[in-house]
């Protein structure tokens, strides 16, 4: 098995799917000649030509609109958002068109498109460029929302996303692009809607996705030294959500902490906490505790950025609280 960065794994997925299916094409800002703002589309222009790797103006609504229209006619567009912060400009195309037509046409029109790009905080890109919008998209029926945390998941999920007949919001993470991990050499897919236990444990369930999995794993490692075995569950797609894998874990550990980079209020962790309290009520020994970004716009200062984001220490603290260990008074 090869050790790849998530960047390379995503690039492989794009390449393989474009080779396999001539209907797959890429459009976005700087995806061609510049080979991607984050080099995810490296080498693709040279291999597949301008017809299938389209540079666009800085016009997110147009990128999304073209993708939606192309998907309606049977193509499989992959629209890159330089970051999901800019996708707000494309929301109408996604929410009112991509997500709706299959339903409103009685299944006659499908929208097999992928909108992908980095989401969440990077390093000191401040309030407008650090946002985690997964809850916004997960809110919409008709969309699929995938958020990989490892190179292997990224490749397997992206291939499934490209082949899916529904619009898939594929949220990557800038910090994770350089993270390395084993990626199978052979062809494989990871089905949308299937979660993964990233670490087996008995004492507490930590639910996390995307970069938060890294945070949760660091916390779990530190907790192990204190004799606490945390289980880290990564749903991988938020919609559809593999709730069973979460319930199964919580029923085993009796405690649940949810870690997310989004804001607390109406964040996706609230959806998980809601389902857990309803389906695992008699199995819970403590309330579900959420570790989220702080309820403010992301500050620019490095120290404040750290304070704003979920950190392993915050997760450790939350775990101790659901375990009724010391933790913060």
């Amino acid at each position: 098995m090869a050790i790849l960065t998530m960047r390379e794994a995503l690039n492989q997925a794009l390449k393989e799917e474009m080779v396999r299916d001539p209907n797959v094409f890429i459009l976005g800002e700087e995806v061609g000649a510049y080979q991607g703002a984050y080099k995810i589309t490296q080498g693709l222009l040279a291999q597949f030509g301008e017809w299938r790797v389209r540079d666009t103006p800085i016009a997110e609504e147009a990128i999304a609109g073209i993708a939606v229209g192309a998907a309606f006619t049977g193509l499989r567009p992959i629209a890159e958002m330089m970051t999901f912060n800019f996708s707000l400009l494309a929301l109408d195309q996604i929410v009112n068109h991509a997500a709706k037509y299959r339903y409103m046409s009685g299944g006659q029109v499908r929208c097999p498109m992928v909108m992908r790009g980095p989401s969440g905080a990077a390093t000191q890109v401040s309030a407008q460029h650090s946002q985690a919008f997964e809850a916004w998209y997960a809110h919409i029926p008709g969309l699929v929302v995938a958020m990989p945390s490892t190179p292997k998941d990224a490749k397997g999920l992206l291939k499934s996303a490209i082949r899916d007949d529904n619009p898939v919001i594929f949220m990557e993470n800038e910090i994770l692009y350089n993270h390395k991990g084993e990626v199978p050499d052979e062809e494989y897919h990871i089905p949308l809607g299937l979660g993964d236990v990233k670490r087996v444990g008995t004492d507490v369930t930590i639910v996390a996705w995307s970069r938060s999995v890294t945070t949760a794993m660091a916390a779990a490692k530190a907790l192990e030294e204190e004799g606490i075995q945390a289980e880290v569950v990564d749903p991988r797609t938020l919609r559809p959500l593999d709730e069973d894998i979460i319930f199964e874990s919580v029923r085993k550990t009796n405690r649940c902490v949810v870690v997310e980079e989004g804001w607390r209020i109406a964040g996706f962790g609230a959806e998980i906490a809601d389902r857990v309290q309803r389906e695992c009520f008699d199995d819970l020994d403590a309330p579900v505790i959420r570790v989220t970004a702080e309820d403010v716009p992301m500050p620019y200062a490095k120290t404040l950025e750290k304070a704003y984001l979920p950190q392993p220490e915050k997760v450790i603290d939350a775990v101790k609280r659901v375990l009724y260990r010391e933790g913060r008074g």
């Binding site: 009796n254 607390r264 209020i265 009520f281 008699d282 199995d283 819970l284 020994d285 403590a286 309330p287 505790i289 959420r290 570790v291 989220t292 970004a293 702080e294 309820d295 403010v296 716009p297 500050p299 404040l304 304070a307 979920p310 915050k314 603290d317 939350a318 609280r321 009724y324 260990r325 010391e326 933790g327 913060r328 008074g329």
Partner: protein, 540 residues
Amino acid sequence: MAVSKVVLAKLSPTMEEGTIVKWNKKEGDVIKVGDVLAEIETDKANMEMESQGAGVLRKILVQAGGKAPIGTLIGVIAEPNEDIAPLIAKSGGPAKPAAPAAPAAGDPAAPAAGDPAAPAAKDGAKGAAPKEAAKRDPPPEQEATSKDSAAKQEGAAKAAPAAGAGATGPADAAAASAATPAPAPAETAPDPVSAGANAAAKAAPGDQSASVASSVETQPASAPAPPSNGDAAPRPAPPQGAASGDGGRVKSSPLARSMAAQKNIDLSSVAGSGPGGRIIKRDIESWSGSAPRAATGAAASAPAARPAAPVPSVAPGTEIPLSSMRKVIAKRLAESKFTAPHFYVSMEIAMDGAVGLREQIQRLEDVKVSFNDLIVKACAKALTRFPMVNASWMGDKIATHAEVHIGVAVAVPDGLIVPVVRNADRKSILDISREVKDLAGRARDKKLKPEEFMGSTFSISNLGMYDVTEFTAIINPPESAILAVGAVRRIPVVDGDDIRIGHRMTVTMSSDHRVVDGALAAQFLNEVRRLLESPVSLFV
């Protein structure tokens, strides 16, 4: 780590005050959450009191041997160099509500904290101060300027989420502060949704109010919590009518509840080690008592419906730890016997009519009623004519009960319990029979609800099925009398100039002489005898 108050916790559902038997920790000891701080004698037993906070036990305020009502500050846990003088000073005086805290709410820092961009109130203590203020009722003199105080509360409300900055966010910060120590101190309004908190919640905009509300919801309010459901101890029935289970609730995690249900553990017999005394998984796992739903009172008595109660197998020469049921039995009956001056009146009752009635009911209705069912009905009916027997000694007065609830002692494997037939005077014999069978069955399965074994006004203990001729029972407080019933025997009786076989039963009533005098007891028993000897009277 903020200062943790060590407050005398409610360690049994009926506990109102406790005695510090001993401190397991001394001043200066380092304390972890869950450490046993002290042994407390409650109304039921000596219980261990665990620490809800961590730090150093800086001060012991109530020494071993001292007695205090629940909610009293008995010690302080804090960091070694933290200033605890104000807290101690406060504990000395009576309630001094918002006055000192209000200025904190109006602290110039508060508006800044309200600005979402400001990191604000990093210091936990600072964040806590406004919340404290919001928690408390404004003192009367502040009500006049309620608008002003509402504005200050708004500041407090906004500050509260910001205080979470160092942590995991507003609501969790609130939860964390709620998770801190022990029950609410005496000066905190017992109703957590105090006027001040309301004002704050209303004044705060949108989502902010939600976090305030959640912080309010999670305040541990265990100090004033009413006694629990699972309480076995019969308490004085209200003079005006039916005694029933109170609305109290034992705080417990859902998991703890389902575990307790599975293991048949009465949550009220478990001491909670979670925030605010919440019973959590580890409390159930480490629970070593037995016999939930301890019965109380009543006599050295026996099963009512099913004869052979299982005999527990006990190896000779062993020491048997007390189950919580055994403790309750020991305490309550000793209390009854040593407090209420018992006297005993016995009477032999001819049961030939009752025997005939029983056979008739069986023939006509195809239902088997027991002698005991008839005795329940007879006593209930007699009590309506003798309200002084259906009464309780209240210390400075006697209360007669408006309704008649008959307790029927039932032997269970590890003790006894006294389920209650409510308003037995108004029920038919068949209804009573059905009800007693159901109650006794469920009593043995430990499935009785608290209201089903609480609130009796008179009890009956029957050892007839063991062929006991006669015995005396101990009064089940706060009742004033109990009837001990022997077996119905076939004996030769003189009938005119003939000797024939008759059915006779001896009953012995134990009465509390503070309430019931000998003549009254005799008259009452005569009425019971009249009803049983001509049982048609039971139907009119």
